[in-house]
């Protein structure tokens, strides 16, 4: 079987994979990084979102071999170096932007990609950016609010707070 090598959350990893092994399978089964979730088979739900070389990618849509040599970041790599919640993670907790937690890793990764590109997004831009991430629990209210808060914007005027 071919061998794949990449850096995941700053750590060099490698493993033998089949040609059909998806990145998400490599991460979950090969590396034990089960924070990245599989919620659908059609690249719609976004629970498997990770970053590959800084870009937001649905890891159920790429083969592990396709990211050979790449820099991959998963939800497990989003905390601060001292282990405390990173800025976006903390905003999700502060604003109750998660309930069952299943879509959450994908939401955080999508939000991080948005804020890297657009540090002060509008509400509409946040909602548009999260188009590829489905949440069934929150009605999106507190997710959108958390992302706006993580961008440093004042969310105190947003309803129901």
């Amino acid at each position: 079987m071919p061998k794949v090598t990449m850096r995941v959350n700053g750590r060099a990893v490698s493993g033998e994979v089949e040609g059909r092994t998806l990145l998400v399978q490599f991460l979950r089964e090969g590396q034990g990084l089960t924070g990245t979730h599989v919620g659908c088979d059609t690249s719609q739900c976004g629970a498997c979102t990770v970053h590959v070389n800084g870009a937001q990618v649905k890891s159920c849509t790429v083969f592990a071999l396709d990211v050979d040599g790449a820099e991959v970041t998963t939800i497990e790599g989003m905390a601060n170096p001292d282990g405390t919640l990173g800025r976006i993670q903390q905003a999700f907790q502060d604003h109750h932007g998660l309930q069952c937690g299943f879509c959450t890793p994908g939401m955080v990764m999508a939000a991080a990609a948005l804020l890297a590109e657009n540090p002060k997004p509008t509400e509409a831009e946040v909602r548009h950016h999260l188009e590829g991430n489905i949440c069934r629990c929150t009605g999106y209210h507190n997710i959108v609010k958390a992302v706006l808060a993580a961008s440093g914007q004042d969310v105190s005027a947003i309803a129901a707070e």
């Binding site: 069952c100 069934r136 009605g139 999106y140 507190n142």
Partner: protein
């Protein structure tokens, strides 16, 4: 000022830390030594006779360890229905067997008829494809449409059930004649025929199960995506596989949402256990998303004719409904309660209507089973009522706000006995309506409408005033109604020797935040730090018993059991304190974590009492057992009755039919609030799902029974840009009168109250634009709105 500790504090959730760092442990995240993989063969036709399944080639494929078919389970029990409903003529409902794997016939697309176990997932999947190719199924005509199913006795989902009817239920049958009389003489009757669209619950975590068998002890373990691990244990053990209940542990670890679909026991759970025993190795299965679409229990799917009788001023005289309710191909565990006692009993709404009659015919079809989905029966009742009331207002040119107001049960009328068998203990429907009008700025609507009109958009305002019965449920009552289980709950509070606390609760948290909120309550009651309290849930080997989380019951039933167990701890603590402080027990008071002798400064802290209970050197051993652990079961004596008023504003684009929700306002009465942040989140989620039902989601089976909307490519889940920020108010609080926390439950409210508010808003917008459309069925999609505009 909001509290910053205990009951009522908007405490951040402790469980978030693991979910936000990728350290949650969901069933599919577990890796067990020696594990094997199950893949199911599922019917590709809606209805067919299984002619032959040749397992020879499959069994010889690489990695294949075992093949199971329906034949292997024909002698074990079926997955039973939890409620026995009787027809109007007194006959019990028809209950066909629901086998672990289909046997003889397949009855819906996705019906599992075989399973392959292999060393790897890919090997199992390849082998299942081979087995499907080696299976001969004679396709039969599919029974999809409910009216046709009942009309045509020649084509049967279950051969022994001639008219595909499960039951024909009247509620309350004795009121039928009286209601008919009212309709004959009523000054005005409004009639509305509507569809409550079938929905797929779509918890983001697909169902998954792992079966293990331990030959050394004969014990089984099932790790599964369940809202209800004890009920699953009971069903698997006592009804399906015949395992002694004490030899089976069911664990529901982190569960990624449920919304009803994970209340029930499914055949896959029995299969992985049976296979684990046969192989002596763990067997795991995780659904693909399309498998979930095909085999999870769906929700809603009612076709209803509702009639409202009133006088010319809009005073309600009677409601009458005729409903066809789809149960799909088999009876899921709560499927017969959902369209009956969770629906018919709510058909008086928050109104003082004197006469109500509900008829529900429940029909088998070649579709996936239908069962409780967030709200379960109550959204259907609310939608029918709130839509027909709006239609009546338009017909009689009456103000929909004032019509609801004048028909409300008033605060002086509680406890109020409805004509459909419930006793509402308390409420204030005027107050929530007033609050919604204020918070939703109804006064400013006209200006907003004019602004929308400038942009060529039609703006509408929709109202829904809803009530539900939750905190499910008083066993004595549901027993009379046909329930085969009790619906109490249980909790154990274990004070450890070092003074910290483990609380084992029957309720299961799969997003609701019990680990945080339940700890707030215990800490508040005992005057100790919240961090000292740990909530344990989801494991039948650790928890005394439980009936799970659904029907907005976690807090109102299990939370109350927990506080009763805390009360017992305090009572025992007083005895210990009395001994240690050499005082009379009657003189001991407990406040802020201290046991004190009244009128003195003599006191012992909670920690000192706990230590003494476990190191009983100075302890009344002759009259009191050591240790400090108490269990309580709590069975409520009534349902709880949250209620509220919801306002929705939409803009309709008359050129495209696209509806945009501009604002959504909720004014709810949930009684006392334990954690406002969590309550808001629950309402947001419910409203999001309600807007999804109203505007986006539809489960479409074609005439051959093929599920056309079987993936996220086809089934329109609401996305972030489909919904606005919501305004949620819960300041109107009439505490529940029959539980000590005064709580009512908030989990389902949003999904119950919101769909009619959205649809009423769309119809209002169209009328304001001069387009006289009386009704559009959900989902109110651009195509449907556009067609309605063209045909008006």
């Amino acid at each position: 000022m909001p509290k910053d500790f205990g009951i009522g504090a908007p405490q951040k959730r402790r469980e978030d830390i693991r979910f936000l760092t990728g350290r949650g442990v969901y069933t599919d995240d577990l890796k067990i030594a020696g594990q094997t993989y199950a893949v199911f063969c599922r019917s590709q036709v809606a209805h067919g006779r299984i002619v032959s399944i040749d397992t020879t080639a499959t069994a010889a494929m690489p990695g294949v360890l075992a093949v199971f078919t329906g034949e292997d389970f024909k002698d074990v029990g079926g997955n039973p229905a939890g409620w026995l409903i009787k027809s109007r003529n007194g006959e019990p409902m028809r209950e066909p067997k629901r086998p672990v794997l289909a046997h003889g016939k397949v009855r819906h697309v996705g019906d599992a008829y075989a399973a392959v176990i292999a060393e790897t997932y890919q090997q199992a999947k390849d082998a299942a494809e081979q087995l499907a190719a080696d299976t001969v199924i004679d396709e039969l005509p599919a029974i999809v449409d409910m009216a046709a199913a009942v009309a045509d006795a020649s084509n049967r989902v279950h051969d022994e059930i001639p008219d595909n009817l499960c039951f024909d239920w009247g509620w309350i049958e004795d009121n039928r004649a009286k209601v008919e009389e009212v309709f004959k003489t009523a000054p005005h009757v409004t009639t509305l025929e509507l569809v409550n669209n079938r929905l797929v619950p779509n918890a983001m975590e697909p169902r998954a199960s792992i079966g293990e068998y331990f030959p050394g002890t004969g014990d089984y373990k099932l790790t599964t995506t369940s809202q209800n691990p004890h009920l699953t244990r009971l069903l698997v053990a006592a009804f399906v596989l015949g395992i002694p209940e004490n030899k089976l542990t069911v664990v529901a670890p982190d569960v990624g949402g449920g919304f009803g679909s994970k209340i029930y026991h499914y055949g896959e759970e029995a299969l992985v256990l049976a296979a684990a025993k046969k192989l002596g190795r763990p067997v795991r299965w995780t659904a693909e998303r399309t498998e979930s679409f095909l085999s999870d229990a769906h929700g809603r799917d009612h076709v209803t004719k509702i009639e409202l009788a009133c006088d010319k001023q809009g005073n309600f005289l009677a409601f009458r409904t005729e409903t066809l309710a789809n149960v799909g191909a088999y009876l899921s565990n709560f499927s017969t309660a959902t369209p009956t006692f969770l629906h018919g009993t709510l058909m008086a709404g928050p109104y003082k209507v004197p006469a109500v009659y509900v008829n529900v015919k429940t029909v088998f079809t070649n579709t996936a089973p239908v069962d409780a989905y967030r709200g379960a029966g109550r959204p259907e009742a609310t939608f029918s009522l709130e839509r027909v009331i709006d239609k009546m207002c338009r017909e009689l040119n009456l103000d929909p706000f004032e019509v609801r107001r004048k028909n409300f049960i008033t605060t002086d009328m509680f406890p109020y006995t409805t004509p459909v068998g419930l006793v509402y203990d308390t409420g204030n429907y005027q107050a929530t309506l007033d609050k919604a009008i204020e918070v939703g700025d109804v006064k400013g609507f006209e200006a907003r409408r004019a602004e929308s009109a400038k942009r060529g958009k039609l703006r509408g305002l929709g109202l829904s005033t809803w009530i539900e019965a939750c905190g499910i449920a008083p066993s004595h009552l549901v027993g009379v109604l046909g329930s085969r289980v009790g619906l109490y709950d249980a909790a154990t509070v274990r004070v450890n020797a070092t003074g910290n606390i483990s609380v084992m609760v029957g309720a299961h948290s799969h997003g609701q935040g019990h680990e945080t909120v339940f700890a707030q309550i215990v800490a508040d009651k005992l005057g100790i730090p919240e961090a000292s309290v740990e909530i344990v849930h989801g494991d039948t080997s650790k928890i005394p018993f439980g009936m799970g989380s659904y029907g907005s019951r976690s807090l109102a039933v299990c939370g109350v059991a927990m506080t009763k167990a805390v009360d017992k701890i305090v009572a025992k603590g007083k005895k210990i304190a009395a001994h240690m402080l050499e005082a009379s027990e009657a003189d001991i008071s407990f406040e802020n974590g201290k046991f004190s002798v009244a009128g003195t400064d003599k006191a012992k802290t909670f920690g000192e009492i706990a230590f003494s209970a476990y190191v009983p050197h100075n302890y009344p051993l002759e009259t009191l057992e050591p240790g400090l652990e108490e269990t309580a079961f709590y069975d409520p004596n009534n349902f709880t009755y949250p209620a509220g008023a919801y306002l929705c504003e939409v803009e309709v684009d008359p050129d495209t039919g696209k509806v945009q929700v501009c604002s959504f306002t909720c004014a709810d009465d949930f009684g006392n609030i334990m954690n406002p942040m969590v309550v808001e989140g629950q309402v947001h989620g419910g409203v999001g799902q309600g807007i999804g039902q109203a505007l986006c989601e539809n489960t479409h089976y074609d005439e051959n029974g093929q599920l056309v909307t079987g993936s996220y490519m086809d089934y329109a889940m609401p996305r972030a840009s489909d919904v606005p920020f919501y305004t949620v108010d819960y300041s109107c609080q009439t505490p529940c009168t029959h539980n000590p926390l005064g709580v009512k439950g908030c989990g389902e409210a949003g999904a119950i109250g919101s769909p009619p508010a959205v649809v009423n808003a769309v119809i209002d917008a169209l009328h304001r634009g001069g387009i006289k459309v009386s009704h559009i069925d959900m989902p109110v999609s651009p195509a449907r709105v556009w067609s309605a505009i063209q045909n008006a």
